[in-house]
């Protein structure tokens, strides 16, 4: 790696250092904007006992769902885990632990984690099972929960375009959790559809500044659609 050139040439290299028992934060919402190839590489390497932080856990046979097939995930922190029969089976049998987290709280946990804020207060979840065991405090007459932030050993991110400096832009709603995940990994790996020439990305339009990114790789993507809905 020379200077700010963060490009790596293989997926093996992209995930070098990922080990059993680590925490991986993943971008994506449903199957939209998920780091497909990085997930597949985790499967190929057979890394186990992972804690995965992601809004969802893929579907059977695609996305993070593929890591369930060989029981590589021991814990998931997510807001919604439906649409996945294998996940349900492993949850009911106790093979996998799930920590359900409100979607906005999950996003803020990642954002705060990346921003060096250890915890924050939110009204989300007050009076619900999410509040169990958590500190609540009153501000201006309203109760708020203390939620701790999240960081990961690795963050895996799907971008649209990047330059070799690691500046990234996302396409449409494939942005979702990706820029938050990108800030919260000790090692952040971004896979993109295109690596462009330096200077091609407009500095005012960058979603993820390169300082957050450690490794960049260019891949090809299936981009599976979960609910194809067209105008009748």
């Amino acid at each position: 790696m020379a200077g700010f050139d963060k490009r790596v040439s293989s997926y093996e290299e992209a995930l070098a250092g990922l080990k059993d028992g680590m925490t991986v934060i993943s971008g994506g919402f449903g199957l939209c904007g998920i780091p497909e190839n990085l997930i597949n590489e985790i499967k190929r390497q057979g890394i186990r006992d992972l804690t995965v932080v992601s809004n969802n856990c893929g579907v059977d046979g695609f996305g993070l769902g593929v890591l369930l097939e060989d029981r590589q995930i021991s814990k998931v922190i997510a807001s919604y885990v439906g649409e996945n029969a294998l996940f349900e089976k492993q949850l009911l049998s106790g093979e996998i632990e799930v920590e359900l987290t409100p979607q906005g709280t999950l996003a803020e946990k990642m954002r705060a984690g990346g921003a060096g804020i250890p915890a924050f207060f939110t009204a989300t979840g007050v009076g619900t099972p999410v509040a169990d065991g958590k500190e609540t405090r009153e501000f201006k007459g309203r109760a708020y929960l203390m939620e701790e932030s999240i960081t990961g050993d690795f963050a895996i991110v799907k971008g649209w375009k990047a330059d070799h400096f690691g500046n990234v832009i996302y396409r449409h709603t494939a942005q979702n959790f990706n820029p938050l995940a990108a800030t919260a990994g000790k090692i952040t790996v971004v896979e993109v559809e295109e690596i462009v020439e330096p200077g091609e990305l407009d500095p005012t339009q960058i979603h993820t500044p390169g300082i957050y990114v450690d490794r960049i790789i260019c891949g090809t993507f299936e981009k599976r659609i979960e609910q194809l809905t067209e105008r009748s």
Binding site: Q103, A123, T124, G127, H172, N176, Q227, L228
Partner: protein, 219 residues
């Protein structure tokens, strides 16, 4: 006659105002988008990071990178913006959404809502519902008044784990439009042909019935 899903959506749409930013939940709330009054401009927010959700794409034009929170392929209307999930929930939590419409299993006279978890059944998660009910001032819950077995869903106290506490003020069921105030449901309107007696019978929580309860009108 109980309201159809379409009629429920139609009734909720009358609560829209020109210039509103609105978040619509999955199910009946989604149908509300079809009944926004002519000449009124409303911006729909989808919590995966889209403000200004447009129509479904034309056949063959769906884009995997362009979805709503229900994971359906959608388009963005003119004036739309797209952003991260943290930004999206900053809008929601920060009280910037003018109206939120969502479904529920139960609501009670204290404004509590239960919509995400049935103990003993598989729990799939709350998604963004807890953030939405905690953040919005103006929420309308849409649900059937009673279960298929006739059990009321409008209770003195929710029996299921809560999605939010003390945050619901308005409920539209297939039988009635009600407001919640001061520890009671207040019957404001009834579905066409539905008697006040039927609503009383199917409401388990304290219900205040004014002298005159107008019937909803549908074109």
């Amino acid at each position: 006659m109980a309201l159809s899903r379409e009629q429920m959506a139609q009734r909720v749409a009358r609560e829209m105002q020109d210039g509103f930013y609105v978040n619509l939940g999955i199910g009946i709330p989604t149908l509300v988008a079809n009944y926004i009054p002519e000449g009124m401009e409303v911006m729909l927010q989808s919590e995966n990071g889209l403000l200004g959700m447009g129509a479904f794409p034309r056949v063959g034009e769906a884009d995997a990178d362009m979805i709503n929170a229900g994971k359906q392929t959608v388009t963005a209307r003119t004036g739309a913006s797209i952003f991260s999930s943290a930004e999206s929930f900053a809008m929601i939590r920060g009280g910037h959404i003018d109206l939120t419409v969502l479904g529920a299993f139960e609501v009670d006279v204290h404004g509590n809502i239960a919509s995400w978890m049935i103990p003993g059944k598989l729990v799939k998660g709350m998604g963004g519902a807890m953030d939405l009910v905690a953040g919005a001032e103006n929420i309308i819950v849409t649900m059937t008044h009673a279960s298929k077995d006739g059990e009321s869903k409008l209770l003195s106290r929710c029996s299921l784990p809560l999605t939010g506490a003390g945050c619901i003020k308005r409920v539209l069921t297939d039988l009635a439009y009600l407001e919640i105030d001061n520890g009671a449901f207040i019957l404001k309107e009834r579905a066409p042909g539905v008697s006040v007696e039927e609503i009383i019978r199917k409401t388990a929580g304290k219900l205040i019935v004014p002298d005159h309860v107008p019937e909803m009108q549908f074109a």
